[in-house]
Every structure is written in C-alpha cells, then in structure tokens.
C-alpha cells in the first residue's frame, strides 16, 4: 500500500493561536479512492487542520502538496479551485434558494450574462440522480428538505466543483440511522470513483464501518497513521486520549427505583399542537429520566416544554406540587436548567469570555442590580474551570475560541452554578469526544446521587441506558413507551422506536 502515491500530503504543519499551539508538527496523507478518518478528542486540532487545508487559516510552517505540487491556499475559494471541497458539520448553504441554485451558486451556466435556468435545473437534477442517487425536485427551496438531504446537496455542490479531495466534517452528527446509511453508500460510491475522502466523526462505529485509514491527533500533535483493519477499536480510543480507557467500564450503575409518590415535576396532558402530542410525564426527585427516539420524534420538544422555552397550549405542568412556569425566566426562578442541543445558536454567547458565559444564568436570576462582584466572578470561573476540566483554563478567553466539548462544559457550568433541582440536558454529548463524554455522563450520575433530577435527551442509546433510571421512548411526536430497570436495553428501545410497523 505504501508505494501508492498520495494525492494530498501535509507535512510538518504548525499553526499557533495566541497562547495555544493548535497544530504542532502534524502530518496527513490522503489517497485517491480511500476514505480516511481523522480522529481525536475535542481540541485535538482536527478542525484547525481542516481549516488549514481549506485556506480558512494560513499555516505558520509546513508544506501542503497536492498531486506532488506544493500549494499555498489563501482562502476557501482558492482551495475549491485546486480541488479541495469541504462539507461542514452545519450545512452552510442558503436555505431560501432552490436546490439547483445552491449547487450552482457563483457558477451558474450563462449565456450573454443571462442565467440559463432550465439548463441549470436539468444539470442539478442529473448530478443528484447520477452521482448521489437522489431524486428530488431541484426547483424547491432548500429548506423544504430534511437536514440529511441538505447535507447531500452540499456534497453535490462540492462534487460539482470537480473535487479531488472531499472533506466531510462531522457529516453524520445530525442524521438519523437510515440517513447515515444512505450517506455511507454515497461515500462508498464516490470512493470507487477515485475521490479521496477525509471523514471526521466522533462515532467510532462509523469509522470502522467506512474508513480505510485513520490518522489520530492528540493535543495538536500527530499520534500516527494506521490502516483501519490493523487498529482495534480499544487501541484507537486509548491512542486518542493517550491512556487506556476504563472510564466507561468503571461507571457505577445503580438504577434507583422511584418509590416516592412525590414527584418533582408532573406533566398532565401537556402538549403543543403541531409540535408534540399531549403526554403525561413525571420526574421524581433525584431521578434521571432518559428520552429516546429518532430525530424529530419530539424529544427536544418535550424538553423545551419542561423549561418553558416554548409555550404549551394544552395540559398542565406543575413543579413541586403547585408551581407552574411559562418562560425560561420563571423556570430559572424555580431552579430548572436547560442545556439546549444547539450549542451555537441557543447556548454560548460567542463574544463573551468563559467567565461571563458561566455566570450569565446566575446573574440573570439575581437581576440587574445585584451584580455578582468581580472577585466572586473570578472565583466562580476558576472553580468551574477546575471542576469541569475546561481547556484552556483561562477565564478571560472568549468562548468562541474553545472547542465544542469545552464550550459544552462551560454551558454545563453555567447551569450547575444556578444549583438547579431539575437539569434538562438535550444532547449534551453531541459532537464531543469520548473522554469528555464519559466525564459528562459521570457528572450526571453523581449529580443525581446528590438529589438533582435530570431529564436526559440523547440519540445514543447506550448513553441513555447508562445514565437513566427510567427511559421514555418517543415516536412521531408521541410518547410510546416507558421502561425501567430490566426492560432497558438496546433491543427493546429500538423496538419501541421502530414501532409496530418496524421489522
């Protein structure tokens, strides 16, 4: 295999940010007709490496060669021109333009400056059906389609720019299982067509399902390049975090039986038309209730109703017997905290520092005039940075400069600081690495030991099973099943999710 010529070679790449060495002598080789997985924990430098490759950042040192020629791309546009295309985690197309427009934007077929709409639509349709086996109406606006299809459209756009190298940055993090399968089929097909694909993901199973080669980064340093077949999963994990991982095995697993007839929260016939059908759901003191179900099954919607982020239009929701809430503000006053699944749009305040992001909810609860003294703010920030192991441990660092997992930890800190009685976590471990995942799961368990109730939403079944005392399964905006202790296993949950019609 090694005599094979690589299409893209990066050697001795260095990239530093103020106070941080993001990439420290990193190498990467991509081969035509191969799917190459880039692995590493949060903050290992994966995103930075991709951004360097695509010209978002310029490197401080090192060589990037494409087809044996050294290249120095200065902008994402240039990198596309030389044949490196990227599909980012969050689809970054224009949702209000049509599918065809999105694919051809900037390169529309023209005649005398006039756009040939018909030709463009036909080309787009052909491209999607031939290369991606996707038959859709390309004249509809992009937002009419699911995230999965939008993702495929952005791949189509990338392909259309005659890509030699296709970078997929966490493409599967917002897809359900069928969609992932569809995506993998397409990746396999593109691979056979001779494309070099760089695949970044946090799902280990997916790496083993599709990739041929793995490069591992740790703390901005190059750990090694391996053939997937030669690297057992456990070894991969231990190389990623730099020690053998026993975190998951060690996890205590004592499911509590909720015997009290006193509930912390009681929802009766709670619902919001068009969003979630009326449901009953109680949460006990110190109980961890897991919500499982496919994307769009109503998991997030249930969580949002419990926080008052959306208003219920039917049913009642009461806390501690008699209190009710109608807004996040009231939720906060009643010691309820909610970590949204959309870290970026509903969680972090980008331009504020770690310290400010942590104290925000507590300060909001105290009101304007009872400002937390600066000294105390600093103490709080230091404390939570330490407890949650936030990296870099600099309170005055802007949160936007942190990796996804560390941002998540800051948000957890924000809510833990308010000392909630009910903590609602919507996909708290999405898009973050395995080490941080284990840390967060452990934290949830220890919090519930201390008497905090937790509503835990996740699309990873093993995770839900691991932390929950009770699991509630949703399908098509209904709660379909509740299970406790012994019934809780992957199979039964899958069955509940799939429903009667499932095979």
């Amino acid at each position: 295999m090694s005599e094979q010529q690589s299409i893209l070679t990066m050697t001795g790449i260095y990239k530093g940010f103020p106070g941080v060495k993001a990439l420290d002598n990193v190498s990467l080789r991509l081969f035509s007709g191969e799917i190459h997985a880039l692995m590493g924990e949060n903050g290992a430098g994966k995103s930075t490496l991709i951004k360097v490759m695509t010209g978002v950042y310029t490197i401080d040192e090192g060589i990037i060669e494409l087809d044996g020629q050294p290249i120095a791309v200065q902008s994402p546009l240039e990198s596309q021109e030389v044949g490196i295309s990227t599909v980012y985690q969050e689809v970054n197309l224009c949702p209000n333009l049509t599918v065809a427009e999105n694919i051809f934007i900037g390169r529309e077929p023209r005649k005398f400056g006039r756009i040939l709409w018909k030709e463009m639509n036909e080309k787009a349709k052909k491209l999607l059906s031939e290369r991606l086996h996707l038959e859709i109406d390309v004249t509809l606006p992009l937002h009419d389609y699911s995230v999965a299809i939008q993702q495929l459209v952005s791949i189509a756009r990338a392909l259309n720019i005659s890509a030699k190298v296709l970078i997929l940055d966490e493409p599967t993090s917002s897809l359900d299982q069928n969609e992932v399968k569809q995506l993998f089929n397409i990746m396999m097909k593109l691979k056979e067509e001779g494309l070099a694909i760089l695949f970044v993901t946090h799902f280990l199973d997916q790496v083993y399902e599709v990739s041929d080669r793995i490069t591992i980064l740790r703390n901005g340093q190059f750990v090694g390049e391996y053939m997937t077949t030669d690297l057992p999963q456990l070894e991969l994990v231990s190389k990623m975090i730099g020690k053998t991982l026993q975190a998951f095995e060690e996890m205590p697993k004592s499911h509590k039986q909720n015997k009290q007839d006193q509930w912390f929260a009681e929802a009766k016939g709670l619902g919001r038309s068009g969003v979630i059908e009326p449901f009953n759901l109680n949460i006990g003191y110190g109980e961890v209730v897991g919500l499982a179900g496919l994307l769009g099954s109503g998991r997030t919607e249930v969580a949002r109703l419990f926080f008052g982020a959306d208003r219920a239009d039917q049913g009642t929701l009461q806390f501690e017997g008699n209190k009710s809430i109608h807004s996040p503000r009231q939720a906060l006053e009643n010691s309820i905290a909610f970590c949204s699944e959309n870290r970026k749009t509903e969680g972090i305040i980008e331009d504020l520092t770690i310290r400010e992001n942590i104290i925000l909810a507590l300060q909001a609860n105290r009101g304007w005039f009872r400002r937390i003294p600066r000294k105390r703010q600093n103490a709080i920030a230091d404390e939570y940075i330490k407890i949650l192991n936030i990296n870099p441990p600099i309170p005055e660092q802007l949160i936007k400069n942190l990796s996804g997992g560390n941002q998540q930890k800051v948000l957890l800190g924000r809510w833990l600081l308010t000392q909630p009685k009910l903590l609602i976590l919507d996909e708290p471990t999405r898009g973050i690495d395995i080490g941080a995942k284990a840390e967060i799961q452990k934290l949830v368990l220890s919090l519930s030991e201390e008497g905090m109730s937790v509503l835990f939403v996740s699309s990873e079944l093993d995770e839900v099973i691991r932390v929950s005392d009770r699991i509630v399964v949703l399908r098509d905006r209904h709660i379909v099943q509740e299970m406790t202790n012994t019934e809780m296993n992957q199979q039964s949950i899958m069955k509940a999710i799939a429903g009667g019609g499932g095979k």
């Binding site: 926080f307 982020a309 996040p328 503000r329 939720a331 906060l332 006053e333 909610f338 949204s340 749009t345 509903e346 969680g347 972090i348 305040i349 980008e350 331009d351 504020l352 400010e356 925000l360 909810a361 300060q363 909001a364 609860n365 105290r366 009101g367 304007w368 005039f369 009872r370 400002r371 937390i372 924000r414």
Partner: protein
C-alpha cells in the same frame, strides 16, 4: 508592551484623533492656545468640546442601542422635539428667566424624550418591528412633531438661566462638558457596576441564548431605547439653549448618522455585542474635530462634505483589521518581489 498597546481597543481611535489634532497644529500653530476671558477659557479645543457635547450625548445612547444589535434613527428628531418643547414652555411663561419655569421646561422636554424612547422600545420589543424600520417612523414623524410644537416657526427665548445649559460656564469650562461627563459617568456606572452591561452585550450577541439563560431580553432592549431617547433629549436641550432658539426643521439634522459613525469609530460593532463608551466619546470627538478643521482650513462649502467623506473613509479603513492586514501583506510581498527581481535588472 507595544503590541499590547496596539491591541487596545482605543488605540486606533486615539491615533486618528492625534493625527487630526497634529494636522491642525501644523496648519495653525495657535490651535492649541487657550485664553482666559471673563473667567472663561476660550480656544479651539474648548470649542470642539463644547460644540461636540450634543453629539457625544447622542452617541452614548446610540452605543447601548447598537450593542443590543439595534439602531436608533430617531435621535435627530428627538433632539429637535426636546429643544422645541423646552423653548415653547419657556416662551409661554411670563418671566422667561424664572428658575422654576426653566426647570419645568427641562423636565417636560426630558419627560417627552423618555416617552419617545419608550415608543421606540415598544415598537422594537412589543411589536417586534426591526429597529431600523421602527425608529425610522419616529425619525420622519418626529420632524413633523417638532414643527407642530413650534408651529412651524423658530421659537426664540430670552432666558439666561436656560442659556446657561448650553453656553454657561463652570470652573472656567463650558457647562455642557459637565453635562456630558455626568451622563457618561451615569452610563458607565449603570452598565459596568450593575449587570446591565453584561446583559446588553449578551442580548446583542445572541438573543435566543440570552432568553434561554433567563435574561429578560425585551426589558433590556426597552430600557436601552429609553436611555437613548433621554440622551437625545438632553442633547436637544444643550443645542437649543446654546442658540437660545428652537428650530423644528434643522435642529439635530443628520445627528443619527454622525452618532452611528461615532459609535462605529469607537469600536462597537453594528452586529451588536461588545460596546465601548470611551471609544464612542473619542469617535464623537474625531467627528467634531474634523468638522472644526474643515471650517478652519477654509475648505469651500460646496466640497466640505466630500472632504469629510474622504477622511471618514480613511478612518474606517485604518480601523479595519482586515484592511490593515491585507495592506501590510501586499506591501510585504511587493518588497519581497522587488528583492527577487533585483538580480535580473
């Protein structure tokens, strides 16, 4: 150390102000001279502070509005309305110089400004209209209101007590400077010694995340528009008191644009979030110094606006980190190219 100074958000605004002052000094060396007449200091610098006071006031309010990702186009009109209201009240009194009458006039005008600010705040938060449109309504209608108050005339007042506001002096300095200082101090205390500043920055940066963190976003925005209205109202008092008359048509004309410019020069982004009150003050001073400079150097009236535009463009380019970087880069590559080319020559 040098790097840290250059990184400071006030560095470039101060450099620009310094360059403008230096230009003035070279052009007319007595620019910096101050003289004492009748116990009051006179000189170009004092003039800049005095004439710039209304703009500084309006800009302080505008800074907070912009920090919430909003904008207030109606400040110019509020300046006119406030001045008109005060002058009308005084002109209707029997003894125009009566202290109680002047206080009533000021009180009425400021109260009206607050109501106008509430109107803007309501349109933005209650009715959910985009700030630029919401405040455009009062920007246009406000001129009409001001003329309605003055009945289409220019109201002149003879009241030394009222005129003290805009042309009186305290400790040998124009009184208006102290008004600015007090408002600036109040704004700083209000935003930095309470959590309001944090909330404003948070709401401006990410309204939804702020709401989910339990911040009453609409309350924060509402208050900010009221404060902006109040600032514009005070500016209107200074302006009308300085000329002892109220002109519904022209008072405060285009102030909104100068204020927005001052805020942006001061380093606050139109995208909301972080705000810099001191930066805004320096921005307003830059604009006022520029205006004074242009008058002083005798640029012919028909091209003053063009000259002003050019300088403003230069200021904005210097402020833009992107431009500075690409400028430096281009210069670097050019010199390296020159070196490579040299041997062949």
């Amino acid at each position: 150390m040098m790097k840290r100074i250059m990184k400071h958000h006030l560095f470039y605004p101060l450099v620009v102000l310094g360059v403008l002052l230096l230009f003035n000094f070279i052009y007319s060396p007595d620019f910096f001279s101050l003289e004492m007449r009748n116990g009051q200091l006179y000189g170009s610098l004092i003039d800049i502070l005095n004439f710039g006071a209304p703009l500084m006031l309006v800009s302080i309010g505008m800074t907070l509005v912009i920090a919430t990702k909003g904008i207030d186009l109606s400040v110019g009109s509020i300046v006119a309305i406030s001045g008109a209201m005060a002058c009308l009240t005084i002109s209707q009194g029997t003894d125009q110089n009566a202290f109680s009458l002047v206080i009533t006039a000021i009180g009425t005008a400021l109260l009206l400004s607050i109501v106008l600010g509430m109107w803007n705040g309501f349109l933005v938060t209650g009715a959910g209209i985009q700030p630029i449109i919401a405040t455009l309504i009062l920007m246009v209608a406000g001129r009409g209101i001001a003329q309605l108050i003055t009945d289409g005339q220019i109201i002149t007042v003879v009241s030394s007590n009222y005129q003290f506001l805009g042309s009186g002096s305290l400790f040998s300095l124009p009184f208006s400077i102290f008004v600015v200082l007090i408002v600036l101090l109040a704004a700083t205390l209000l935003t930095r010694k309470t959590a309001l500043g944090l909330f404003i920055e948070s709401v401006g940066n990410n309204p939804e995340a702020s709401r989910l963190s339990g911040i009453k976003s609409s309350m924060v925005i509402f208050v900010v528009y009221i404060f902006c209205g109040l600032c514009a109202g005070i500016a209107g008092l200074l302006l009308s008191s300085n000329v002892a008359s109220a002109d519904g048509n022209n008072a405060g004309l285009w102030y909104e644009l100068d204020a927005i410019l001052a805020v942006v020069i001061g380093g606050t982004s139109l995208n909301g979030g972080r705000f810099f009150l001191m930066g805004t003050i320096i921005g307003a001073l830059i604009i006022q110094t520029l205006t004074t400079t242009i008058y002083m150097t005798g640029v012919s009236p028909e091209i003053t606006l063009v000259v002003k535009a050019c300088v403003v463009l230069a200021v904005c380019l210097i402020q833009s980190e992107f431009f500075r970087k690409s400028f430096v880069k281009r210069k670097k590559t050019r010199t390296s190219v020159d070196k490579e080319v040299m041997p062949y020559l």
